[in-house]
């Protein structure tokens, strides 16, 4: 389909100090296609790593690369360690990242030949990275045809009026943000706002629009509920989406009371795409309604979810989620492995332990989830002789700061262990087991 037919027309498609219309957007996509053409001669096996925190710049590049049939790699964050670990699968960078020895499309000179009419991307690859169960960042390869199927399903399932404005607290580098806050409003021709951090800033946007869609996450909503400065504009809120992790039922219920409408919670992952959604209006609203076209089974022995979805390549995808099916709906019961989610950031504890042990101060380490004021990762560490002398000379604050700085090359800041204990040996019991409650006692 011609791209100008696919994208909804809007004189204010992107909001900001200088708004961009859908025509401006399409012109910038054309400009960027020229840069791609100048930079990359043969495009078939080329992969471009794209990161840009600015939603407008990101979408211009993402779409231009798709139209030119170039595969795109989307790093989950801009940490140097993350970018470097992904760098070997990429040939070029695009957006506001730089990697030494890798050419950037941004550096190209413009070429002015006439271009073919742009067609909405259908076939090229889009690669996401998540923290895999094996412990290593894992590439999840999708292509535009799968994204398009999901996009059209979402557009049909969650219809928006023409004057809707999308405001968001989540990044478009991840699949949830990419679909819900970037491609969906683009398709609808709804106004797109840059990512906002504080509730007050979102309130300011909502104030100016009659019909607002908030694309958010448990990290944001669980704090918003404590002082809901948006609630007074509840009549302007059309939908509040929440995904990326688990929103506590208690929070969902309080938000329902504050907004007088339920949060639209989305269950899915990068691998699986969107699976189901739910609205929690009372404590018993626990079941998830499957997206149209999605079918689920439960593996009889492991109770793991077996997914049959039009949004994934595989006919059957086994997930790491344990669940039950009741009246055609899903009840989620937890995860099978050591991958946890902290503020929607997936982190594999085995992976983080391995990375810790590569540090010269750390002999061995046990990491676990600790639910206190905020759910955090706690670290119990046995130090090497070098680590012990560092601790004796510099004190524990300095040592933990340096360890966190080291870990931050590989993990996002919000996932870093916030509490550290240094022990001579782990509290193994007589049976040779390391009981969780013994580890937890160290943090009381």
């Amino acid at each position: 389909m011609k791209i100008n037919k696919f994208i909804g027309e809007n004189p204010q498609l992107f909001s900001g100090q200088s708004p961009y219309s859908s025509d401006d957007f399409l012109q910038d996509v054309e400009q960027y296609r020229r840069l791609i053409k100048t930079t990359i001669a043969v495009r078939s096996s080329i992969k471009v790593m794209l990161y840009d925190a600015n939603i407008y710049r990101f979408l211009v590049r993402f779409l231009a690369l798709g139209i030119e049939n170039v595969s795109v790699i989307l790093p989950p964050n801009e940490q140097v360690g993350t970018l470097e670990s992904i760098a070997e699968s990429a040939d070029y960078t695009a957006g506001n990242i730089l990697i030494s020895d890798m050419p950037s499309i941004e550096d190209a000179c413009l070429f002015t030949e006439k271009m073919s009419a742009p067609i909405w991307p259908e076939s090229s690859e889009v690669v996401f990275f998540t923290s895999g169960t094996s412990g290593k960042p894992k590439a999840i390869i999708k292509n535009w045809s799968l994204l398009n199927k999901e996009l059209l399903t979402l557009a049909k399932l969650f219809p928006m009026s023409a004057e809707s404005a999308f405001v968001s607290t989540v990044s478009h580098q991840h699949i949830y943000g990419l679909l819900f806050r970037a491609l969906l409003p683009l398709k609808n021709g709804n106004t797109v706002y840059q990512t906002q951090e504080f509730p007050e800033h979102i309130a300011n946007v909502i104030r100016h629009h009659k019909h607002v869609v908030l694309v958010s996450s448990p990290a944001f909503l669980s704090r918003l509920v404590e002082d809901n400065v948006i609630a007074r504009y509840q009549h302007h809120l059309h939908v509040v989406f929440c995904s990326g992790g688990k929103l506590e039922v208690s929070h969902a219920l309080r938000l329902f009371a504050q907004f007088q409408k339920p949060i639209t919670q989305i269950y899915g992952s990068t691998e699986s795409g969107g699976i189901a959604y739910r609205h929690v209006c009372k404590p018993s609203d626990e079941l998830w309604q499957l997206f149209p076209g999605v079918k689920c089974e439960v593996d009889p022995s492991s109770h793991r979810l077996l997914l049959h979805s039009p949004f994934v390549k595989e006919d059957t995808l086994q997930l790491d989620d344990i669940c039950q099916i009741e009246q055609g709906k899903l009840r989620l019961l937890g995860r099978v492995d050591r991958t946890i989610k902290l503020e929607e950031k997936r982190v594999n504890l085995t992976h983080m332990e391995e990375v810790c042990c590569q540090h010269e101060w750390i002999e061995s380490v046990k990491l676990f989830e600790l639910k206190q004021q905020r759910t955090i990762i706690a670290a119990v560490v046995v130090l090497t002789p070098l680590g012990k002398s560092a601790l004796a000379e510099q004190g524990s604050r300095s040592v933990t700061v340096q360890l966190k700085t080291y870990l931050q090359q590989y993990f996002e800041r919000v996932t870093l262990p916030r509490k550290w204990r240094f022990v001579e040996r782990f509290p193994y019991n007589a049976q040779g087991k390391l009981p969780m409650n013994e580890l937890e006692k160290l943090f009381v």
Partner: protein
């Protein structure tokens, strides 16, 4: 250290449940986020909540201004004073 500076530092330590950090570790003009004290984006939300509650003030609707207010202890103190004096 003025009372308000001390109070803001104590509030940062308590509301964010920071371990091994004393008021002396927090420099008045050092960045609170990323470099410096090394707070993260969730800390920003939590600290915003704590400041609003403790001092009964509202945050701006302008994101650049908020960023500026939350950049260091000094800027936070200045922000709280300016609001309280209005």
């Amino acid at each position: 250290m003025s009372d308000l500076v001390l109070e803001v530092k104590m509030l940062i330590i308590e509301s964010l449940d920071l371990e091994d950090v004393t008021v002396d570790d927090i420099k008045n003009d050092e960045p609170l986020f990323v470099d410096g004290l090394g707070l993260d984006s969730i800390d920003a939300l939590e600290l915003g909540l704590a400041i609003k509650k403790r001092f009964d003030i509202k945050l701006d609707a302008n994101s650049e201004e908020t960023k500026q207010h939350f950049s260091s202890v000094n800027s936070l103190v200045e922000f709280i004073r300016s609001v309280k004096n209005q």
